[in-house]
């Protein structure tokens, strides 16, 4: 059942998106949005999740979604208003719903009874009427309380419905969930075979539905095919609960079996088209023989063809059809799922995108090579050639930008998760917090979006736990009781800049300094600017929490955040104003596929240094170099800084570099330590496309990846952190190795 797995995956992917929409909608409402479309959107989100979950028999998910949906429905129809309390319940319900989806996806079972409290709260919200039939898809029982009505539903699909992959069988099945339905199909408009348009729509259905649900609920079933069908719903008189007029099934008329047979005879190939004609027609003559006696059961119109339409009591009709064509089911679900906010999108396998990205990288390199050959061939003076090359360059660049943009995603998905985090952390530390989000539509490479979660989680926890003062202190300071955490994203000079700021007390600089001194991170007499003091919190082993809370003091500090940000090729910094709060600023590259690099020459090899780790370049004087054992140190503004001769370190040459012809590159690594890398020459800065070395070879210590230069040759990208830590660890061994 690989196909089924795929559909399951799709369901969960969509569920994630729907959960995002739900969260977004609830936040909007929380912010005072009273637009009915917002309520509709969240209702649809929960409804669609319920629908999909029902298909995979995720009963707990279904029953909770149902309870949730009931409240939303009441809210939508303005049966109930919304108070702060109710909104809280809904936000928590959304959290639980997403937990349920997640556990279901992982195939796990959530601990029993977690829904109970919220279910009760939800029931209380929806006017105290607890839902008697939470499992939406169970065979409907008629509760004694509500009055049921008999509805007469006439449903005539238009060709467009089939063209949009709609399926009447599904809709009819939906109706069955609402109550006791008696279904009949009118095939009288099916023309002769010769005139039959295989994509035409000729059938219509009449359903007598006895249900306690409202007319709106019935119409909702057809919500997704609105406009693609002619629908009439006529409400009958309320009726006393009695044995509904169900068609007797003993009439020797088993539609399920019949459909199964049709299916079998049509072969097990691709799922049958949604068009009913191809498989209804061949069997039409049979009906006349066998079923003439049941025609009067249904509300039939006179028929002209010799084939009276089947008047099936379609009780179990959906099951076999569905089992045979799950793909179709899902498609119709997918295509009909409303996506009011998002534009039209298409899912593309990430591998394909990456291949495209690679190919474009090729194109860029190839163009550079062609340009170089043109110069070599002495053709560069020809106006036509150089104009052509220029145009080619522009085109290539445009293609590259566009292709890179394909991998871009808004940071919204990560930002949305943060609002839940803020709620939970706020509750855990007894602080009232509101999260203000800005620029969640800012786009950045998918991988970066994914890897943003951890650092952001950490920073926001930090902001709430350490940044914001306790409610009492806030009142004392004359601040509003509710603390505010701002989370914003924007593009700035080829980077995405993300800021997390709080309106708390700001960093306690003397304390930060004391801690740094007591932990031996800085000398006691160190002269530090305010900015330098603030950034001490990123040092490994630094933690300001005086009591270790389970929120942010878990042994990992902000140095971990800094590491993970640097691993993405970004930088992080903090700005703090005492009494006014702190702001963490995170600058990340827009894509991981390219890197801003400094190209250097070492022993005739071109190497690339990530620009993010490069601080400055300098010319070295012999008198500034000092030997410490086998290591060399450089005096850098009074501080002794270790120096690495890259050419020797990598074994490109044995002789030490000629200082008069070398350049020093100051790089910053883990824990803000600085090191000087000795190279022969600096070629310049360039954006390079990152290529994996590990695909075909393996990892090389000190080398992060490779890239391809304009001349088509491979250049290695240095892993500065690894290089420095390795060099310092093996300094002594290494000198022996050389000597030996």
């Amino acid at each position: 059942m690989e196909g089924m797995d795929e559909i399951r995956d799709t369901f969960f992917q969509e569920a994630e998106e729907l959960l995002g929409e739900l969260e977004r909608g609830l936040i909007l409402i929380q912010e005072g949005d009273r637009d009915s479309e917002t309520v509709n959107a969240i209702f649809r989100a929960v409804h669609s999740i319920k629908g999909g979950a029902g298909m995979f028999e995720l009963d707990r998910l279904v029953s909770f979604a149902h309870a949730f949906e009931t409240v939303l429905d009441d809210l939508r129809s303005r049966k109930i208003g919304l108070e702060a309390n109710g909104l809280k319940t809904m936000l928590r319900s959304a959290d639980l719903l997403s937990d349920l989806v997640r556990t279901a996806r992982a195939g796990e079972e959530m601990e029993a009874g977690r829904e109970a409290v919220l279910m009760a709260e939800l029931a209380a919200l929806s006017g105290g009427v607890a839902d008697a039939a939470p499992s939406a898809f169970d065979a409907p029982e008629l509760p004694a309380g509500p009055v049921s009505r008999l509805y007469d539903i006439r449903f005539t699909p238009l060709a467009a419905l089939y063209a949009n992959a709609g399926d009447p069988a599904l809709l009819v099945r939906e109706l069955h969930r609402l109550g006791t339905a008696t279904v009949s199909c009118d095939a009288s408009h099916v023309p002769d075979l010769s005139e039959l348009d295989p994509e035409g729509a000729y059938l219509s259905w009449t359903v007598a539905l006895e249900t306690t649900e409202s007319e709106d609920t019935i119409r909702e079933v057809f919500e997704f095919v609105e406009g693609d069908c002619i629908l009439e719903v006529i409400a009958g008189e309320p009726m006393v609960v009695e044995e509904p007029a169900v068609v007797e099934e003993g009439d020797g008329f088993d539609v399920a079996a019949l459909l199964a047979r049709m299916q079998a005879e049509l072969g097990d190939g691709p799922a049958p088209e949604a068009t009913p004609s191809p498989f209804d027609m061949p069997f039409a003559p049979d009906f006349s023989a066998d079923f003439s006696n049941v025609v009067d059961l249904a509300d039939m119109r006179p028929v002209e063809t010799p084939a009276p339409s089947p008047a099936p009591a379609v009780e179990p009709v959906a099951a076999p059809v569905l089992a045979a064509s799950p793909a179709k089911t899902e498609e119709s679900k997918a295509s009909s799922a409303p996506a009011p906010a998002a534009g039209a999108t298409i899912r593309v396998d990430l591998d394909r995108l990456d291949r495209l990205v690679n190919l474009v990288g090729e194109l860029v390199i190839n163009r550079a090579m062609v340009a170089q050959r043109v110069v070599e061939a002495g053709l560069s003076n020809t106006a036509a050639v150089s104009v052509g090359l220029d145009e080619l360059e522009q085109l290539t660049r445009e293609i590259q930008d566009n292709v890179m943009a394909l991998r871009a995603q808004p940071v919204r998905s990560v930002f949305q998760r943060m609002s839940r985090l803020v709620r939970e952390v706020g509750e855990a530390v007894n602080k009232q917090v509101q999260l203000v989000v800005e620029g969640e539509g800012t786009e950045v490479d998918k991988t970066i979006v994914e890897r943003l979660t951890d650092p952001l989680t950490h920073m926001i926890r930090n902001a709430i736990d350490h940044g914001l003062e306790s409610p009492e202190k806030r009142l004392e300071a004359g601040k509003p009781l509710t603390g505010t955490v701002h989370l914003s994203a924007r593009h700035a000079s080829g980077h995405i800049v993300i800021e997390v700021s709080d309106d708390g007390g700001g960093l306690n600089r003397p304390r930060v300094r004391d801690i740094a001194v007591s932990k031996g991170l800085i000398p006691a007499d160190a002269q530090l600017s305010d900015e330098e003091t603030d950034n001490l919190i990123f040092l490994p082993g630094f933690s300001t929490a005086s009591t270790i809370s389970n929120i942010s003091g878990r042994g990992v500090g902000l140095d971990v955040v800094k590491r993970s940000v640097q691993a993405l090729g970004g930088r992080i910094s903090i700005a703090s104003r005492p009494g006014r709060g702190s702001t963490f600023t995170l600058a990340l590259p827009l894509t991981l596929a390219v890197l801003d690099g400094m190209l250097v020459t070492v022993a005739d090899q071109t190497l690339v240094l990530p620009l993010t780790s490069t601080v400055e370049t300098l010319k070295l004087k012999p008198e500034e170099i000092h030997a410490l054992g086998s290591s060399k140190l450089v005096t850098l503004r009074g501080a002794f800084t270790p120096m690495i001769d890259v050419g020797r370190h990598f074994g490109y040459r044995h002789a030490p570099a000629d200082l008069t012809k070398s350049v020093g590159l100051v790089v910053e690594t883990q824990g803000n330590t600085r090191t000087v890398l000795l190279v022969d020459e600096i070629q310049g800065q360039r954006q390079v496309v990152i290529k994996s070395l590990e695909t075909n070879y393996g990892s090389v210590p000190g080398i992060a990846a490779a890239t391809i230069l304009g001349d088509g040759r491979v250049a290695l990208i240095l892993d500065v952190d690894a290089l420095v830590s390795e060099a310092s660890a093996s300094a002594s061994d290494f000198s022996f190795a050389i000597a030996g």
């Binding site: 090729e362 390199i365 370190h649 994996s692 695909t695 075909n696 070879y697 080398i703 491979v714």
Partner: protein, 160 residues
């Protein structure tokens, strides 16, 4: 992966006749299953990889893929010379890994049947026996059947 390798390795395969490509390293001739060969191209200077084994010549750009180049002569402990533009890189793929092998020249394609394969005599050194999975006599020449998975197998392990 190992089963796949075993199946592809001409030295062990017991199936029907298949085609093998013959190339020369110094005075010796070797062959590999043609299905493992992705392409054959001329030598281009490689970028050195720091601290790699001596038989790794470095990496080159193969249409955007970073391709490690293995000097087959050094790998097999044969006298190695600096490559010129007349040298040839045989690009082979095993599993997902693509590697270029530097050889002197590609000479022939032959159809290889199991009956033609003779076992490697015990006179050869252990190293060459682990790299050579059998011998084929062809027009008075001796062709070594290269055990590609052993030749390439350690690259990843050693590099990692």
């Amino acid at each position: 992966m190992s089963t796949e390798l075993a199946n592809r390795d001409p030295g062990r395969e017991t199936g029907d006749a298949r085609e093998a490509i013959i190339f020369r390293v110094g005075p010796q001739e070797f062959c590999i299953d043609i299905m493992t060969v992705r392409e054959i191209r001329g030598w281009t200077p490689a970028t050195m990889l720091p601290r790699s084994p001596g038989y790794i010549r470095g990496v080159i750009n193969l249409r955007g893929t970073v391709l490690p180049i293995l000097d087959l002569a050094q790998r097999l402990d044969l006298p190695s010379v600096d490559p010129t533009s007349r040298h040839v890189i045989v690009v082979v793929q095993i599993g997902a890994q693509v590697v270029g092998m530097l050889v002197d020249a590609v000479s022939d394609i032959i159809t290889l049947a199991d009956s033609m394969i003779q076992p490697t005599p015990a006179v050869a050194s252990e190293a060459s026996r682990s790299f050579v999975g059998g011998l084929v006599a062809l027009d008075g020449r001796m062709i070594n059947i290269l055990r590609l998975e052993n030749v390439l197998g350690e690259i990843r392990a050693e590099a990692a």
